[in-house]
């Protein structure tokens, strides 16, 4: 596909089926968030008290990690489209920042567990652990996809014909980022 065709409008980045999957995932998380909102109303005091036990600093640290990684991802997609050699380092930076998110999450879980705040501590902890863990699985899958994409560069650091792959990986990575923004606001802040 030529650049002109891409700009002519009507271009779907990546595969059509991927967007349906992303739509489905958003539906699932929408159902999750509604369930949480209802439970939050029902047990307001408990949720507020438990929320204060969460480590806002670590949550806050993870947000720019993912946001910056998404920025690098977007730059990497643009770089592949214009056949720019900076695409590979940008993609590796995305992977590094995403891995940083996983490491921070691991420290956060470990600290919570050592303080006795575990999966079945109360109804808030169930939401906290399950939602963040399901999101973490998305992060890990995303990292796997990005590593695969990173392995597709040729020796010159270009990815000829790799637009669909990099766009698809990018779309999924942005989904992971988007879900985290909502999760962070919902669990840590609101």
């Amino acid at each position: 596909m030529t650049t002109a065709e891409r700009r002519s409008g009507g271009h779907v980045p990546g595969e059509e089926g991927l967007w349906v999957f992303i739509g489905g995932d958003l539906v699932v998380f929408a159902v999750f968030f509604i369930t949480y909102a209802v439970a939050h109303r029902q047990e307001y005091a408990l949720f507020e008290a438990s929320r204060r036990l969460l480590d806002r600093q670590l949550g806050l640290l993870n947000t720019p990690l993912l946001l910056t990684s998404s920025l690098c991802m977007a730059q990497a997609v643009a770089a592949v489209r214009r056949d720019d050699r900076r695409a590979r380092p940008l993609l590796l930076a995305t992977i590094a920042l995403g891995s940083g998110f996983v490491v921070v999450k691991a420290f956060e879980y470990a600290a919570k567990i050592s303080h006795g705040f575990t999966l079945n501590t109360n109804s808030f902890s169930i939401y906290y652990y399950m939602f963040t863990a399901i999101h973490l699985v998305h992060v890990l899958i995303g990292l796997g996809v990005l590593c695969f994409a990173a392995s597709r560069f040729d020796k010159a650091g270009r990815m000829p014909g790799g637009a669909a792959l990099i766009e698809g990986s990018g779309a999924f990575w942005h989904l992971v980022d988007l879900l985290w923004i909502v999760l962070f606001a919902l669990l840590y802040l609101l």
Binding site: V28, T35, A39, Y127, M130
Partner: protein, 233 residues
Amino acid sequence: MDTKSTTMKLCTFMGALAGTLMFVGIWPLARMFPPLDPALPVAQVADYYRAHQTGILVGGILITSASVLFFPFLAAVATFLKKIEGAISPLTWAFVMIVAYGFVTLFFAGLFFTVAAYRTDRPDAEIAMLSDIAFFLFVMPAVPAFVQNVVTGVAILQDKRARPILPRWLGYMNLWTGLLLLPGFAVGLFKTGPFAWNGVLAFWVPAVVFGIWFNLMIVAMLAAIKRDALAEA
């Protein structure tokens, strides 16, 4: 209409019958819809079985009967998938193998409901244990269901014919159904909350989504049989 499409139609309707039997068995008869609260004390679980013995036993017959009647329906689905894939059909094979154990759990769920209600003079703890096994068999096969739906969805979407054998929206719907069924995987971890076996995310959403999926599959398959899609190139 030739014999083959009559057979396909019969198999598809067998699914509707199975779904109805399962629902009647689990809901008005066994009164296990919604499921017993997993946080219920052992003595109360046992008392529930003692109080509803006949309903649960008759419900057990319907649930076990339903489980086998799902298979002609699933065979009809597999026939469509095979038609889509052609001679080399790994997704059809995967589908056949996954449903072979994914739907058998329903038979065992009915069986364990029956055993739990069979001798009401059993100690409370034994009845409660059998009840737990029945509910896990009923709700926990979320992962096989997810993979089954993904395989079905991918096979339908792979169809490159100008007029696909099964409509593309059905493929997308299978993918979404699979995702929404998935939260049932963690029921073993919880006794309360949305991921417990009576929770919103592990039970209610999957139950409603399964009902919608099931009915739309039947509608789409009957439409495909009516236009004789299996006889097309």
